[in-house]
């Protein structure tokens, strides 16, 4: 846990692009907010691993959004149900349902549909917010935080040792 937190701080304090970190948050959100055992999550994991996405932030984002998803479950179910019952979309759903890939995607599952649509809508917003937070952190907060007494204490702790080890 300490290692992940240290890596997270390292990423925030590193030269990595803020957009790259924001992408990690968005991908983590997708996998966190939608049900885990879905084919699209395999693609997201592939994307997170193959592209230079910060995995620590990806994991933290996954954890945070899993919690949010749990809180939103009933609402996601209702949303998914209303989307799947929308009469104008029935033809598309039936066509998708007739294909093996459509079945594998489990789009016909209410929570999967509801959460995926919410994740799609939230993706640009979450990305923008993440970018803004990271950029502002680096610009304004990072230096101030380093001067705080509590940070001074932390810098003398084992956690700081891990952090510095990681930095190399």
């Amino acid at each position: 846990m300490l290692t992940i937190l240290a890596k997270l701080l390292k990423a925030l304090n590193s030269e990595t692009s803020a957009w790259a970190l924001a992408l990690a948050v968005v991908l983590g959100m997708f996998i966190g907010i939608t049900p885990l055992w879905r084919i699209h999550n395999l693609i997201i994991i592939l994307a997170a691993l193959i592209f230079r996405v910060n995995l620590s932030l990806f994991i933290v984002s996954f954890g945070v959004f899993s919690g949010i998803a749990y809180l939103l479950d009933p609402w996601l179910h209702s949303l998914g149900l209303s989307l799947l019952e929308a009469s104008s979309w029935q033809g598309i759903y039936e066509a998708m349902y007739a294909t093996a890939l459509g079945r594998l995607s489990m789009f016909n599952h209410t929570i999967t549909m509801g959460s995926f649509v919410i994740a799609l809508i939230a993706a640009p917003i979450v990305a923008a917010i993440s970018y803004w937070v990271i950029a502002n952190y680096r610009k304004r907060i990072q230096a101030k935080i380093m001067k705080l007494r509590v940070v001074q204490v932390i810098r003398g702790s084992r956690f700081w040792q891990i952090y510095t080890d990681l930095r190399g």
Binding site: L49, R52, D73, H77, L81, Y97, A100, M106, N108, H109
Partner: protein, 583 residues
């Protein structure tokens, strides 16, 4: 140097991750299937489902599930169904397309209503009203009680005393009226006087025509008086006749009064069975419900599970599980189909093979109903059994029909009731049964006849009533029961009608009368003694009346004879004697 956007080692990590998933799935597939099946079936069943073992085979793709225990949500200490082993051949091509097609399913060792080792967890509580209705079926609820002779005598309006009073009043009244009429009767002396006067008028020396005229006048006056007396006699005789009729009726009523009162007491003992609160249901209800689980198996077990699999309304969606919506078009094959299945039911050591065709929850896509046939002849338990039916799920619910015949089932040592109030057991009997059940939009409508022949029942009761019922049950030779099947498919209700209640009513009456006989004899003797005092008076009066009737009859005849006396003839004779020189 700017780093590449692609992290090639990540691809290797991904490959490793996927391989790990595949390996875990491969290694733990049986466990994953077991847990998934337990979870899914448990949710459909509404209570815990346990699976002992799951085995799969890749070529050909097949699955074997052993030791399946399906908890009964109504009685979690029992399994509603228990399956020894089920094996299925699954079509892999259909599976890839997201459909489950099982060409052949074989289930062996299927038993219903078996006790569990430990109580199963219930996920969906059964209808409370249903449970309440079930709990109300108790021997304790029997409202009927067997009355004692004293209780009945205190309630019955005994009429003997009243009859005696009426007889006494009638006696006095009749005696008074008859005596009043008697006083108007002519005395013997008066009749003799009439005779003498007639003699004087009609006999003696005739002095001429003037004398004849005077005598005739005197005779007419005398006859007038005689006629008045005869009228009095006639009135008296009418009074006597009326009094005799009344007294005879009173005697008859007096004689019958004790017997009538005893009959009235006895009638209070007779029981029409209405207070017995359907002993048939109490006695045979549990067993009939157990049997019905076999007969209605297709509906009670498979029907609701199939219905639930296609209808979220019947199962509360579990939070976080969501719901799968089917978008199969009308021409698509069903998503779940067992083309053929063979289930071996174990009933008391006898195996019944049930052959199923087209088990699915999407009959609209298949265009055919699920059908099933069972036949087992010449088994150790019965001489013939066959059952067949069909079932299909529509948008409005389950539509189905089923019929069966069972002949010569041998019941041996079969416990019926083991309550503290009454224990009953069939030592031996032959059972025939046939019936039909229709289901329309989840509503059951059926009738089953159960005929028990050569009944040999053993029963013992703890209260006065249940002891009497037990005694009556032991005398039963034959019992015909009509079971009406109704209610919803998920909670069928059984209603029993038989002649048992009436038979018990008669037998209980006999039993109660047997106990009361001695006491009733004493009551009858007391009543007869009371009656006999009054009866003596009445019979005495009747004898007097008869005697008076006879006497007054004589008087009437005497007066009639006097009235026949004619003056003309005697005078003619006298006058003829004088003219022709006679005296």
């Amino acid at each position: 140097m700017k780093r590449s956007i692609i992290r090639w080692p990540g691809l290797a990590v991904f490959a490793g991750f996927v391989l790990l998933l595949v390996a875990i799935s491969w290694l733990f597939l049986d466990t994953i299937i077991k847990v998934t099946l337990e979870h899914t079936m448990g949710r459909l069943n509404g209570a815990e489902v346990n699976i002992e073992r799951v085995e799969h085979r890749w070529v050909p793709l097949s699955l074997t599930v052993a030791g399946v225990q399906v908890t009964d949500p109504n009685a979690p200490q029992n399994n509603r169904v228990q399956i020894g082993e089920a094996s299925a051949d699954i079509s892999p091509t259909e599976l890839v397309l997201g459909r489950t097609l099982i060409e052949q399913l074989t289930m062996t060792g299927v038993r219903v209503n078996q006790p569990r080792e430990s109580e199963g967890e219930v996920y969906v509580l059964p209808d409370k009203e249903d449970m309440q209705g079930w709990a109300n079926q108790s021997w304790d609820k029997l409202t009927m009680s067997l009355p004692s002779v004293d209780e009945i005598v205190s309630q019955v309006d005994l009429r003997t005393e009243k009859v005696i009073e009426e007889a006494k009043t009638a006696y006095e009244q009749q005696e008074q009226e008859v005596k009043a009429a008697q006083e108007a009767l002519p005395s013997e002396e008066k009749i003799k006087e009439y005779e003498q006067k007639i003699k004087q008028i009609t006999e003696g020396k005739v002095e001429g025509l003037g004398d004849i005229a005077a005598r005739k006048k005197a005779l007419d006056e005398l006859k007038e008086s005689i006629r008045a007396d005869k009228e009095a006699v006639s009135n008296f005789r009418d009074e006597v006749k009326q009094a005799k009729d009344v007294v005879q009726q009173q005697i008859s009523e007096l004689k019958n009064a004790p017997g009538n009162d005893i009959d009235r007491i006895k009638s209070f003992f007779s029981m029409d069975g209405s207070g017995l609160q359907n002993v048939t249901g109490l006695l045979l209800g549990d067993k009939a419900r157990e049997w019905s689980k076999y007969v209605l198996l297709a509906y009670e077990q498979l029907g609701p599970m199939l219905a639930r699999s296609d209808n979220s309304a019947t199962v509360e969606p579990v939070r976080g599980e969501g719901q799968r919506i089917s978008f199969a078009d009308d021409n698509a094959p069903p998503e779940f189909l067992i083309k053929k299945a063979r289930t071996e039911f174990m009933v008391g050591g006898t195996v019944i093979d049930v052959d199923w065709q087209n088990i699915t929850h999407q009959h609209n896509l298949l265009g055919q109903p699920t059908t099933y046939q069972a036949r087992a002849d010449n088994s150790d338990l019965w001489s013939a059994f066959n059952l067949n039916g069909e079932m299909s799920l529509t948008n409005l619910g389950i539509d189905a029909r089923q019929q069966w015949q069972l002949k010569g089932a041998q019941l041996q040592n079969l416990g019926l009731s083991d309550s503290s109030e009454l224990s009953a057991r069939i030592l031996s009997s032959l059972l025939d049964s046939d019936g039909t059940v229709l289901v329309r939009e989840n509503k059951l409508d059926g009738k089953a006849m159960v005929r028990m022949l050569n009944l040999d029942l053993e029963a013992e009761g703890s209260s006065k009533l249940t002891s009497a019922i037990a005694g009556a049950l032991k005398q039963l030779q034959r019992l015909d029961i009509t079971t009406n099947i109704g209610g919803d498919i998920q909670s069928p209700s059984l209603n029993f009608e038989s002649d048992l209640d009436n038979q018990l009513g008669d037998l209980l009456t006999q039993s109660a009368m047997g106990e009361a006989d001695e006491k009733l004899a004493k009551i009858k003797a007391d009543l007869t003694a009371k009656v006999s005092d009054q009866l003596g008076g009445q019979q005495g009066l009747l004898e007097n009346l008869t005697q008076w009737d006879n006497e007054s009859g004589d008087k009437s005849e005497q007066l009639e004879a006097l009235l026949k006396a004619k003056i003309e003839d005697s005078l003619k004779d006298k006058l003829k004697g004088r003219i022709f020189g006679g005296s």
